[in-house]
Symmetry: C2
Subunit: 375 residues, 2 copies
C-alpha cells in the first residue's frame, strides 16, 4: 500500500464550538446530569432531551475525543490513517440566529483551519461550515473566504438548507458560489425522521432506529429532493459527498428512477416545462447524477452496501471514512475500533482483489478530488 | 428456460373489496371527481385526499386491471408469467371496525380463493388477508381457515399490526399461529412516512417521494422493529417475504448491526435480559435473520439493488415480482410494461450468467417455498 489512507468522514467540535454548546440550555447543548456529574453529555436532538429517560440514555458522553485534536491524531495512528479531512459535527451552525451565524462561522472555520496548520502538518485538512441562517450575501462571502483558507477543501452541510430543505430555489446563489469555487459539499444528516415513525416501543431500542434508519433516509430524501427540483440541471458541476454511502441512494436509485418515469403528473409537468418554442428540458437521470456529481463515503459497515455504492457511483468516487468520534468501542481501553475495522473489512471484501480500486477508495480518490498533499 | 416464471408480488382488488371501497366516503375509497367523471379514482392515503389538488393528482385511476382477473391473465401472458400469487392490495382490511373485519376477511379470502380456482387453473395462487382489527381469536381462527383453502399460500400484511406496529407483543399469538401453520407472511408497506418529511415543495414531485422513499423506509423500519423486539428470537421459524427487496434492508443491514453493537444502552439491556441464572440470550444478527427468515421479492428496478438483495438473503430466497397493476405504462396501448421489463433486466444482469440462480429467482424459489404446482 503506497497511497496514503484518507478519512473524509471524521468530526470535531473545536474549542470555540464547545464553548458555544456549554453556554446553551436548550438543544443542542452540553451539560452534566445527576447522578453522574463526572462527565458531560452532548444533547443534539430534541428527542434526546427527555427528562424521563435515565441520564445514560440522554444524548452521548462527550469527552476529549470530540474536541482535543491530539485524540484525533492518536486515533489516526492507531488505525493507520495518514490524513483526515475534519469537519464540524452536526448540527453545525444551523441553530444560530441570523446575527450570530456569520461571526461564529468565521471564528469556527478559522479555528478548524488553525488546527490543521498547527498540528501534525500534512495530516489534517478540513471542510468548513456555512452560516446558513445569515443572509445569502453573508453565506456567499464566507464561501469565498473559505476558498482562501489553505486547509479548507469543501464545506459540510445538513439537510435543512435555509430552513426548508435543499430543494429551496433560494439556495441557488449558494449553489452557484460553491460550484464556481469548486468546493465539495459534504452532505450529512442530523434531523432524522419524526419520532412517531419508530412507534411506541422506540425507547426500548436505544439510538438504533434514528441512527441506523433515520439518518440514511434523511440523506436520501434530501438528495432526491435536490434532484427532483433540478439542482443538478441548473448546476451541472456541483459536487456533493454523501454521508453513509448515500444513505440508501445506491439501493433505491432504480426505484426512484422508475417512480419518476411512471408518474403521470410529474412527466406531464416536465414535458410542459421550459420555453414553449424549445424541446422540453431533458431531465438528468439519478444514475447520471450518481456517476457525475455524487461522491460517496465508505461508511456503510458491510461488503454488500459498499459494493452497491461502488457500482452506483464508480470505484473512483467512493472514499474511506470513520465517523470518528462517534461509534467508539463500548469496552474501555479498546484502541482498535470495531466500527472502523468493519468498514476496512468491507473495502477489502468488496475490492481487495483489485489493488488499484482499493487504494483509490482508501485514499487515492480523496487525494485526487480534494487536492491533498501528504507530508 | 424450463422453470415456470412466478410473480409473487401482484395485487388485486376483488369485486367484494371494490364494493366495500365504493360504499365509503373517506380514505380509503373509490369515487369519481369532476370534471372527469368518466373514470373512477382510488384514494388510499390521507395525503392523497387533498381537494385543492387537481383530480389527476388525487390518488390514481382505477380500472379493470385492478379487479378483473382477465386483465391479470392477459398481463401475465404478455409478460411470459406462468403463475401469479395474487394478494389483496393495500390497505387490506386495516381500516375496518372490529365487527366488520372478521366477516369481511372470510368473504374476501373466499373470493380470492375462488378466483384462483375458477380462472385458468394452475396459473393463480393467493396470499390471504387477516382481520387484524378483530380479536386475536378471530385472527387466529382465520389463519387456520386460510390454511384449508386450497389456493392460499400465505398472508399479506401491512406494518400497522394491531395498530402500533409489528413489534407489538400482543401479536405473539398471531405470529405463533402463522409459524405453526407454516404460512409465509408477505410484509408490504402502505402508510409511508409523515408528509412533513418531504418538505414544502413535495406537491411538485407527484407521488415520487412517498412511493420511492416512504414505502421502502416504512418496510425497513417495520422489520427492524420486529428484529429489535425479538420476534425472531421467539419465533425462529417465522418466514416473511419483504416487499420491494426489503425496502432498504439489504443496504442498511450492516449499519443496523453496527448501531446495535455500539449502543451502550441496548447492549446493557440485552446482557441483563433473560433468567439471571442463565447466560444472557444471544441476539440473532440481522444477517442471520436475513438468510434464514427473510425472503425478498425482486421488485427493486436495478441490477445494483437486486445484487445487494441476493447477497443479503441468498439467491435461493429472492423471488420475481411485478407490483401489477401499479406502475402501468404512461402511454395508452403499451402492452409491454417498462416497470416489468426493468425488473426482468435487473435479474438477467445480476444473475443471468448463472442459469440456475436466474431460474430460481424467476420462479423456482417461489415454486419450492410456496409449494406451487404448474398445470
Amino acid at each position: 500500500m503506497t497511497t496514503p489512507v484518507v478519512d473524509v468522514h471524521t468530526h470535531v467540535y473545536p474549542p470555540a464550538y464547545m464553548d458555544l454548546l456549554r453556554s446553551r440550555s436548550s438543544v443542542p447543548y452540553v451539560r452534566t446530569f445527576p447522578p453522574d456529574t463526572s462527565s458531560s453529555r452532548l444533547i443534539i436532538l430534541p428527542g434526546e432531551d427527555d427528562p424521563s429517560r435515565p441520564s445514560t440514555a440522554r444524548g452521548r458522553p462527550v469527552g476529549p475525543a470530540y474536541y482535543d485534536i491530539k485524540e484525533k491524531i492518536a486515533f489516526m495512528d492507531a488505525h493507520k490513517i495518514d490524513i483526515s479531512v475534519i469537519s464540524l459535527a452536526n448540527p453545525w451552525l444551523d441553530f444560530l440566529s441570523a446575527d450570530e451565524a456569520g461571526p461564529a462561522a468565521q471564528r469556527i472555520n478559522d479555528d478548524m483551519n488553525a488546527v490543521c496548520a498547527q498540528n501534525a502538518p500534512g495530516r489534517l485538512y478540513a471542510f468548513g461550515a456555512l452560516p446558513l441562517s445569515a443572509s445569502t450575501e453573508v453565506v456567499v462571502a464566507e464561501i469565498a473566504r473559505l476558498k482562501q483558507l489553505p486547509y479548507m477543501r469543501g464545506i459540510i452541510m445538513g439537510t435543512s438548507g435555509l430552513g426548508s430543505g435543499l430543494d429551496d430555489p433560494a439556495l441557488d446563489p449558494i449553489y452557484a458560489a460553491l460550484q464556481a469555487q469548486r468546493l465539495l459539499v459534504f452532505l450529512h444528516p442530523h434531523y432524522g425522521l419524526p419520532v412517531s415513525v419508530y412507534g411506541p416501543r422506540a425507547g426500548d431500542y436505544g439510538h438504533v432506529l434514528p441512527l441506523a434508519l433515520g439518518f440514511p433516509l434523511e440523506t436520501t430524501v434530501a438528495v432526491t429532493r435536490m434532484l427532483l427540483s433540478g439542482v443538478w440541471d441548473r448546476f451541472p458541476d456541483l459536487q456533493v459527498l454523501l454521508a453513509h454511502s448515500g444513505g440508501t441512494l445506491p439501493f433505491l436509485a432504480g426505484r426512484i428512477e422508475s417512480c419518476i418515469a411512471h408518474d403521470a403528473h410529474l412527466m406531464k409537468k416536465q414535458a410542459n416545462s421550459g420555453d414553449a418554442n424549445k424541446a422540453p428540458r431533458r431531465r438528468r437521470s439519478v444514475w447520471d447524477v450518481l456517476s457525475k456529481n455524487v461522491y460517496l463515503d465508505a461508511v456503510v459497515y458491510s461488503e454488500i452496501g459498499l459494493r452497491a455504492a461502488i457500482e452506483a457511483s464508480g470505484a473512483d468516487r467512493v472514499m474511506f471514512g470513520t465517523d470518528h468520534p462517534f461509534f467508539p468501542p463500548l469496552e474501555e481501553g479498546e484502541t482498535e475500533w470495531l466500527s472502523v475495522r468493519t468498514n476496512y473489512q468491507a473495502i477489502h471484501a468488496a475490492v481487495g482483489r483489485e489493488q488499484d480500486l482499493a487504494e483509490g477508495v482508501l485514499g487515492g480518490n480523496a487525494i485526487r478530488v480534494l487536492g491533498l498533499k501528504h507530508a
